[in-house]
């Protein structure tokens, strides 16, 4: 009886091994574009290049990759809403053949000062886990921008003063 059980177990193990070897295996690399500013400041444009490769033996079906940005300033750790940062938030690929790779360019405009970490994630329809790229950390410098507190008094005050002067003259003339 014992040899039969051993034989069955060996067959099952061989079957799992064969299945595992046939699965798609996604690898991902991420690097900053060469044209990125060395010390970006608010308003600068940056690009990140990701390469997603199917290193398995079978096609990867329904691949979705997306960009995530996290602020990592001490005390201000939070995921960033990319609404104002990038219009290019995700890419999809119906099939990624074995050995095939897809290069994706992720442009963004950095709009807030701070320390950030960017990462690309991907999932495949038939694989129950997520694949992530290595992190890239960068710092965005503050820059002086238009201050509304100074503009509002001028923008409202000057027309009001001129309008008042005009109204006073018209009234005096009557």
């Amino acid at each position: 009886m014992k040899p039969v059980i051993t034989l069955l177990a060996a067959c099952l193990l061989a079957g799992f091994a064969a299945l595992a070897g046939a699965a798609a295996r996604l690898d991902m690399a991420l690097s900053p574009d060469r044209s990125n500013p060395s010390s970006p400041q608010m308003g600068d444009h940056m690009r990140f290049i990701s390469v997603i490769r199917n290193g398995g033996d079978t096609p990867a079906q329904g691949v979705v990759a997306w960009i995530s940005l996290v602020q990592v300033d001490p005390g201000h750790e939070q995921p960033m809403d990319l609404e104002d940062w990038s219009a290019h938030k995700a890419v999809t690929r119906a099939v990624l053949a074995p050995g095939e790779q897809v290069t994706v360019d992720w442009p963004m405009r950095v709009i807030q000062a701070g320390d950030y970490r960017v990462v690309i994630s991907a999932v495949e329809r038939d694989t129950p886990h997520i694949i992530t790229s290595p992190f890239i950390d960068f710092h965005v410098r503050q820059k002086p921008v238009v201050e509304s507190a100074r503009i509002l008094p001028v923008a409202l005050g000057v027309p009001l003063a001129l309008g008042g002067l005009l109204g006073w003259r018209l009234r005096r003339r009557r």
Partner: protein, 250 residues
């Protein structure tokens, strides 16, 4: 008092003291206020640094000054003709040159009123940035010849055309053409036609100098050629206005 000064005082008084003139200044301030509020309320624009905003404000002020100069210049002679006051003016013991200079004196006052009105806005958007003092100086240095060029040009058209409407329309079309770099970025002008147009256009000369000084912090020596373009146009337009006044018919 010389006839030129007398005419200039009368013209300046009509522009600054009249309800119409003050209405113009009110409209100008409303435009600058709307522009300023747009700059602070738009997320994309609010990323612009102060120097960029100051540059935009300087271009807008120059365009508004030129617009006012075109309106005043177009009315200078054709308006007198339409109101029936041109004959008494021509019969007065003053030369054509004195009339031109007197009328343009009023335009100088109107431009400096516009300039003075714009200063609080330039300060509001640019005081925490770079080159604010240079911006104030260069707005006067380049804005004055550009604005007066369009004023002289409109004056010349006003002396040649029968109606204010014809002179105003022609001058406005010319102003829109020359001020087009205000809405076309440097990228759109970066071709042989655009570069040639920039090289001879006084408005481009002013805008490029504003950019060069306020954003790129370049010295005056880099602006000398552009200032020469603006001054040559000022001289040409003044000559055109004088010649047109000598040939004007009642």
């Amino acid at each position: 008092m010389s006839p030129t000064v007398l005419i200039a005082r009368k013209e300046a008084g009509e522009i600054l003291a009249s309800g119409r003139g003050q209405g113009w200044l009110l409209a100008l301030s409303a435009i600058l206020s709307v522009l300023s509020l747009l700059l602070v309320s738009n997320t994309e624009l609010s990323l612009l640094d102060n120097a960029q905003v100051v540059y935009m404000m300087m271009g807008t002020v120059t365009a508004l000054g030129a617009l006012l100069a075109v309106a005043l210049g177009s009315d200078a002679v054709a308006g007198e003709r339409e109101r029936g006051t041109l004959v008494p003016l021509l019969l007065a013991p003053v030369t054509g040159t004195e009339i031109v200079l007197g009328k343009m004196g009023g335009q100088v006052v109107a431009w400096f009123a516009t300039y003075g009105l714009a200063l609080p806005y330039v300060w509001a958007v640019g005081s925490s940035g770079q080159n604010l003092a240079q911006a104030v100086g260069y707005l006067a240095l380049f804005g004055t010849p550009v604005v007066l060029t369009f004023g002289f040009y409109a004056y010349g058209l006003s002396a040649r055309f029968v109606s204010v409407r014809s002179a105003l329309l022609t001058a406005l079309i010319t102003l829109v053409l020359f001020a087009s770099p205000l809405v076309m970025g440097p990228g759109l002008r970066d071709n042989p036609i655009g570069k040639a147009f920039d090289a001879v256009n006084p408005f481009s000369a002013a805008l490029n100098s504003f950019d060069s000084v306020v954003i790129d912090s370049q010295p005056f020596t880099a602006q000398a050629g552009r200032l020469a373009v603006a001054i040559v146009w000022l001289a040409l337009s003044a000559w055109f206005a004088k010649r047109s006044m000598e040939r004007t018919e009642v």
